[in-house]
Structure formats: structure tokens, C-alpha cells
Symmetry: C2
């Protein structure tokens, strides 16, 4: 690994050195997955002078379009992963889908995997995650692994306050693996509706439907030697289960609650031995508590605002963390930063809309992912920042809506 | 070209489309030259969603290390340029060395070349530049094309104030083509010393040695439809003819003089029909005038501070300009931003020094170019920003000095 070797020798022997000038000995970060998170990690890695290697499903993937050193292959195949890892100083991820046993095999080969499999399993398996958070005393919604619809009904009834009427529904059901952006999640109102989630044959987690006032995200970055930094807690607004708007910092958030959320995320990072960026998605309840909704151990949509709104972006800090480099300052550069996702609309070519948005708002920061436009698909995001939250929100929403085609003037 | 086609058809027929998903119709920017300017232009192009194609001398060049779509070839060869240009919507440049006649041939083929040959020749040939600036009334140092050392002596004598003693030396001599970073420039004190510049057989320009208090740079970006934006005027400090430090904005610069410098740069951009980024290097004289030293029609070292210090960087605005997209806001994001170049020192591996700099200053923005470290070679730059200029300067200088090895604690 880079850090340990640094300073010992001016030239590190490595089979990949032929690609680069002789004196350049900066490490190679291998990222598995060719989505927009890898695309933006490469962007952040260029000024850092690191070398970035990508394992991508296809040459058309978002990141594969812009990265020089791309291996096309299937991350579910251990031989492919091993071959890819041979040229890397460290392996990290654009997604959580690499099988845990493959990560263990890479570690056994001596490749640093960051975050490691023992940490990453908590972002891969919601059952494991809930059990661990319970064990370390981190507040979560009431939850239980359930075996069938009757068990769901029992779980629902257990949640009724003593003496209350009713059946305790609605209940949230989640497959423990494979869900994202609202997929693999059901809100069920009755025992009949509870049948669907069990059809995939994957273990199902039942959770109380939390009476939340809003969703927050506490994002932190942690390095192998234990340095950690916390970004300001943000408000995250979802539409149809997909992240729509992120406001940094979360408006009107009680200072003590913000601190509690940051501390909670730092605790989770430490106790789960996370390396890299950790997003802790939170519910802020009507009665003033915070409960953990989900964990993600990679750069995360709730941190895209940092690209234009923080001194060091989540992508730059993720790279620094996985290389065990000192972390960059996570503080905001503006009073308010707003991120709104750009979803695909009905019209496949966004270029003329994009031109219009640039002309309307010269301060707008557009981030396009090079992805095929499909209705509802995340194809980019916009960031705006400034002193007036209403203005900053309006500008971001207008641009995202115009790009999608839902706003036409 | 992208703009003209935008909105007419959701799918633009182009031979390069196989590399990208079907619905993605963003244009291809071809950049000639694989140096750090191309590397940073690619970095800026990623969020814009444009596609970037590079013509590079070798696969090890700074930009070739990080760009996906690279053609290795010689920019002096017209067939190579033509083949490269076939896949591009517009051609732009990392350097000024492409022969003017080749640019005209590409234009005759129907490829937009930005800046075009009629503009670019002013950045390629200092004799043409001086003649044009004279014609449009832009103040320059006294100058004349000289034919031999005796002619230099005559030029020197012409500069003596009436009745003054002496021979009028020193005089600055420049070859009209091929110089950069102090190369191709001589300050001569006598007719004997004036022999050297003529040895290359290239026309030589003589210029008065200006009694300047400091050097400034006025950077502007202009698009084909005539939109233009001006960055704040900066102070540029050279060491041994190489840019060392840039301070944005230039400290203690009289507001009227700053405005005059901006207007001058905008005038040059318009009159020379520049498209893209234009750097106008200026002398601020002891008697309060500004005189044009050099022009560069591409992203420029004096604009590297914009990557972290301006709302829109010079690289993003250069891309937007050559695509005739609306330009981004050039205003500063901080009270002071300082850029210091990182030059190579004696030790070829900068990685451990880099780690130290990150640990010392979590706000530091490091930009490494992936280049082989050689003594005195530009291998990166650092940016710092903040409210206190002394602090911002000290942090940038310390980091650059530590990376070079001239500061060891």
C-alpha cells in the first residue's frame, strides 16, 4: 500500500508502472462498478494525482466513458475480480453488490479492500445491520426478521400501545439484500398485502412505519488509521422513494440534535470499522428523536452537494480515506447548498435544455452522468449555493425540472 | 456542431456514437496536446457531460493518463489531425504549436477550430501579435522586428530620452515563434550579447525592458456568439521566467486600473476574434500604465486559481466557450485565492511530502499532473483561499516548497 511504502523508496516496483512516467509512484485505486459514483470519484482523483482503475460491466457505463484504465467484466466472478485487483494498491466500490465471500478472498490474497467485508456486510444485509446497531446501542425503528404474512401481522400487533385499538398496520417490509432507491421496500396495510415481499425467497425484515417529520443524512469519512471527519447533517427529501432534494445544512435543525446525529454516524463508522465515506440515513421523528434508516458505505447521493458546497468533496475524501491519506476539511463553503437530482423525462436529448439552464443561471453547477435518458432514471444532478435558501432552492429545482422537462419556461 | 443541432433531433448521426449510450447526444470536444491543461480540461468536462477526445504525443502524457478517448499521434502531421478531427464536434488546444496552415485545412474540411487560425496566430507569432495590438491601439512595450545585432543597437538607442547618455541597453529580444516560460527570451546588455537570438534563423523581436512594478494577468473567456466574461485581474509573480505565484485578485490594485485591464483583455478578445480562454499578461509600470506582455489563447497558468477560487473555472468556461454554450460566472468564491506552482525538486517521489502537506493543511487544494519529476519542471500546483492574504500566501508557499523539497519542516 501507498502509505506504508511512501518515503522508503523513490521507485515502487509494480507491474502497472509501464503506463506511467518513471518517477511517478502514486498509488492505483481500483473501483468496482462503473456508475456515476465511480465517474465522480475519478473526477476527484485527477487533481489528487492518483491513478484510477475501473471494473465496469460495459464500456458505455457512466464512469467507463471518462476513465482511461477500464476493465470490462463481471464483479460477481472471483477470477475477474482477482485479475482486476492485481494492478491495484487498494480496492473500493461504486456499489454494495460484490459478494462478501469474494471480498474475503481478495483480502486473503493480500489486497486491501476498503471498506472491508466485515464492515460492508452491514450495508449489504439490512438484517445484519439492524442486529449490529442494536448491539452498539444506536437507535433504530422497531424491527424484526419475519417469516411469513402471519408473522408480519404479529409484528404489527406488537407495536400497538397498550389498550389501543386496531391491527398495528401499516408496517414496512424490506428484503434484507438487494434493495435500493425504494426497490425491495413495501409499505403494507394488511396481512394480505404482506405476501408479496416473501415471493423472492429472500429473508424479510419488518420495521415500524416511523412517524417522521423529515429525513436527515449524517455523512462521515473514516480512514484505516482512525481519522474521521463529519460533514454537516443535511436534510434529504425523497419523491417516490428516490432522493430528490438535499439541503445542506439541514434547515432549522436543533444544534444538539445535529451534534447527536454526527456523533451517531462517527460511532457507527468506528464500531463497524468503516473505511471511506459512510452515509447514515436518518428519520427525525415527530417526538424529536433520530432513528437510523439505512447505511451506505461509499459516496452517496446525500453527499453530492459537497462537490460544490464543501471545502473537500465526499469523493476526494473517499479516495483519501481508502489510501489512508490525511482527510480534507469537510466544512461548507457557502451558507446554503442545495442538490436536486436530474431525472430523465420523456425527451431523450437534454442538450438544448442544458443550454437554457446555463443561460438562465451562470452560477448553476450541472453534473451530468453521460447516461441514457429514461423516464425517472437519475441522469445527473445540479448544485446551487448562496446566502438565501429560498433562492438557492428555487434555482436548483428550476434547473432540474427544466432538464427533466417538467418545467418548460 | 452541437449547438446548432440541439433540439432539432433527439439523435444526432455521428460515427462516434457507438462509444456511448443511444440517447446521449452531447458533443465531442477534441483537444490537441496531452499536457496538464488538457488533463484539467478533461476534469472540468466530466461534470458537463461532454465527451472529451485527446490527441497526445505519448500514452504517458499528463492528460493521456486520465482520458478514456486518446489518439496517439503527431499534431504536426495534417493527416493525423484530420483523422483525429473526424470524431470531434470542435477542436481546441492545450498549446499553440499546431501549424497555422493545418488549422486552415481543418477549417476548410468543415471542422470548427476554436480559437480559429486567424486568432491563434497572434498567440503563435509575437511579431503578428505586436502589429495587431498596435493597430487596435492596445498599449505595448516599445518594440520592433530587428534583423541583426547592429539593428538591436539602433533599436536600443532609439529608446533613449532626448539628450540622455548611454547606449539604451538593456533590451529584450524574443524569437517571434516557439518561446514559452522564459525560453526564446533574452535580456541583452550589449550589442555583443545580441548575437545569440539570431542563431536560430527565426525572426527576432526587440522590446524595451519595461520598468514594471509587477506583472498582472487579465483573463477573459469569449464564445463564438460574442458572449464574454472577465475574471478578476490577478498578480502573477515569476521566478527565473517561470510563473511561481498568482494572487487573485491582485492586491492593492487601483479599481480604475483593474477595470482598464479587464476592458483591454475584452477588447483584445473581440478584435482578434478569440474563442475560448484568453490570458493577457500585463506589466504594471512604475508610472501607472499597463502594457501587454504576452497573449495565450487557451487555459493558462495565471487562471489555475479559478479551479478552487472562482464560481466557474477557466477550464469549464473554456469548454463552454468552444461549444458556444452560455458561459459560467467568473466571480471569485473567496476574498483571496493564491496559486503556487509545484516544481520538481531533487527527489523524484513526492508522495510522502504530499501526505505531509495534506496533514498540515486540510483545506489545501493540491493539483498534481502525473508528470515525471525533474528539477524545475512544473509537476502540479496548489491553491489556497481565505480571508487573510498573509495566511493564504504562507499556506500555499509552504505546501509548494515542501513538495519541491526546498522547505523541510
Amino acid at each position: 500500500m501507498g502509505r506504508e511504502d511512501a518515503g522508503k523508496s523513490p521507485v515502487r516496483g509494480s507491474p502497472r508502472r509501464g503506463r506511467y512516467p518513471r518517477g511517478v509512484t502514486f498509488p492505483v485505486v481500483g473501483m468496482v462498478g462503473g456508475g456515476q459514483l465511480a465517474r465522480m470519484t475519478h473526477e476527484a482523483g485527477i487533481p489528487l494525482g492518483i491513478r484510477f482503475k475501473l471494473l465496469s460491466d460495459t464500456p458505455q457505463d457512466s464512469a467507463a466513458q471518462v476513465v482511461s484504465d477500464v476493465v470490462i467484466g463481471d464483479y460477481r466472478d472471483l477470477d475477474t475480480l482477482r485479475e482486476f485487483a492485481r494492478g491495484c494498491d487498494v480496492i473500493t466500490f461504486d456499489h454494495e453488490h460484490v459478494p462478501t465471500e469474494h471480498l474475503r478472498a481478495l483480502e486473503a490474497d493480500g489486497i486491501p479492500v476498503r471498506p472491508g467485508p466485515d464492515a460492508l456486510v452491514h450495508a449489504q444485509d439490512k438484517g445484519v445491520m439492524r442486529a449490529k446497531l442494536d448491539a452498539i446501542g444506536v437507535p433504530c425503528p422497531r424491527h424484526r426478521i419475519v417469516s411469513d404474512p402471519q408473522d408480519v401481522a404479529a409484528f404489527a400487533a406488537e407495536g400497538l400501545p397498550e389498550g389501543a385499538e386496531g391491527d398495528g398496520f401499516p408496517v414496512v417490509l424490506k428484503t434484507v439484500r438487494g434493495g435500493y432507491d425504494g426497490k425491495g421496500v413495501w409499505v403494507v396495510d394488511s396481512v394480505e398485502e404482506a405476501a408479496e415481499p416473501f415471493r423472492a425467497g429472500v429473508p424479510v425484515l419488518a420495521e415500524e412505519k416511523v412517524d417522521f417529520v423529515r429525513e436527515l443524512a449524517a455523512n462521515v469519512v473514516r480512514s484505516p488509521h482512525g481519522q474521521a471527519v463529519a460533514y454537516p447533517v443535511v436534510e434529504s427529501r425523497q419523491v417516490n422513494g428516490v432522493c430528490d432534494t438535499v439541503i445542506a445544512p439541514a434547515p432549522d435543525l436543533d444544534e444538539a440534535l445535529a451534534l447527536k446525529a454526527e456523533q451517531l454516524a462517527l460511532t457507527v463508522a468506528k464500531e463497524l470499522d468503516v473505511v471511506g465515506h459512510l452515509a447514515v440515513e436518518l428519520f427525525q421523528t415527530r417526538d424529536g428523536r433520530i432513528l437510523v434508516n439505512e447505511l451506505a458505505m461509499r459516496p452517496h447521493n446525500s453527499g453530492h452537494w459537497t462537490m460544490d458546497g464543501a471545502i473537500t468533496s465526499q469523493f476526494a475524501n473517499h479516495v483519501r480515506a481508502v489510501l489512508d491519506l490525511p482527510l480534507g476539511d469537510p466544512r461548507p463553503r457557502a451558507k446554503w447548498t442545495v442538490m436536486v437530482n436530474v431525472l430523465g423525462g420523456d425527451y431523450p436529448d437534454m442538450y438544448s435544455a442544458y443550454l437554457h439552464c446555463m443561460a438562465r443561471d451562470p452560477q448553476l453547477k450541472i453534473h451530468m452522468y453521460g447516461k441514457d435518458v429514461k423516464p425517472g432514471r437519475k441522469v445527473g444532478h445540479v448544485n446551487t449555493y448562496g446566502d438565501d435558501l429560498d433562492d438557492v432552492l428555487e434555482r436548483a429545482r428550476h434547473a432540474a425540472g427544466y432538464l427533466r422537462g417538467t418545467i418548460t419556461e
